[in-house]
């Protein structure tokens, strides 16, 4: 009987030791688990950041598209002082009513006249149209 008691006592001691060992190793496992979790959070943050970075708002997109285009200030300043006179000259010379008999020329003149009206403040374009009128309509300026 006494021998059985000591045997039980011993096995309880051994069990206690084993439990204490497991709890010690649990603490170290916990630390590694937290490190892994932190890494996971960092990776998730980086992935999400990249995902949101590519989503540019429509306002920013509108802005960047508008800023990409180049402006011809030389043409603007030239147009400010010289386009009115050129437009007045072209609208008279290229009017479709000047070609009442020739249907083909009348059509070309109508097209050029529309372009002239549309670009009446753009000297560069008006000069191009003048050249076109000289070639296609045989007008002498």
């Amino acid at each position: 009987m006494k021998m059985n008691d000591t045997l039980i006592q011993d096995s309880i001691n051994v069990a206690n030791k084993a439990i204490s060992k497991i709890s010690e190793s649990d603490e170290t496992t916990n630390i590694w688990m937290w490190i892994a979790l932190a890494e996971l959070v960092i990776i998730a943050y980086l992935i999400l950041r990249e995902k949101f970075k590519s989503k540019v708002s429509s306002k920013q997109q509108f802005k960047s598209e508008s800023l990409k285009q180049e402006i011809d200030f030389n043409n603007i300043i030239n147009s400010s002082f010289n386009s009115e006179k050129l437009y007045d000259e072209l609208k008279v010379k290229c009017h479709p009513d000047r070609f009442p008999t020739d249907k083909e020329k009348n059509l070309i003149a109508e097209n050029i006249f529309q372009q002239i009206t549309k670009n009446k403040t753009n000297v560069k374009r008006l000069l191009e149209l003048k050249e076109e009128a000289i070639q296609k309509l045989n007008i002498n300026f």
Partner: protein
């Protein structure tokens, strides 16, 4: 949040540089045109206070006016000032650029005193409605 603030700071500096570039390019072209005899008057662009009631979604808090002033040379009539304004407003690319850079007012002034004309830029280009929560 920090990244957003940082982007805003960078955008602000970039806009400032683009605004200065727009004024500088205009002045350079105006000077060349005057020297070569294309323009009878020397025009000079600058940034002005602008009109408060012309504000739009891209408007700057301060200095939202793009002013063009006639300097030396022939004195321009009111019709000529209006025509210069019309030429600038007819260039949709320039108007778009002015708007996105925070300008809301176009001012064309003569050399004497403060007479001149001004236009509301947002009237000359259809601005899409943007979702501010984006």
């Amino acid at each position: 949040m920090f990244e957003n603030a940082w982007n805003n700071i960078i955008d602000w500096f970039r806009d400032r540089s683009e605004r200065a570039k727009l004024v500088r390019s205009f002045n350079e072209s105006a000077k060349n045109s005057f020297v070569s005899g294309i323009a009878p008057t020397l025009l000079k662009a600058s940034i002005s206070k602008g009109e408060n009631s012309y504000k739009h979604q891209f408007s700057n808090w301060l200095n939202s006016g793009y002013r063009i002033q006639a300097f030396t040379g022939r004195v321009l009539t009111k019709d000529e000032l209006i025509y210069i304004g019309k030429v600038i407003l007819a260039d949709s690319v320039l108007v778009r650029k002015l708007i996105v850079l925070g300008f809301d007012t176009l001012e064309i002034h003569g050399d004497a005193g403060t007479y001149g004309c001004r236009w509301q830029l947002k009237d000359y280009i259809p601005l899409p409605k943007f979702n501010e929560n984006e």
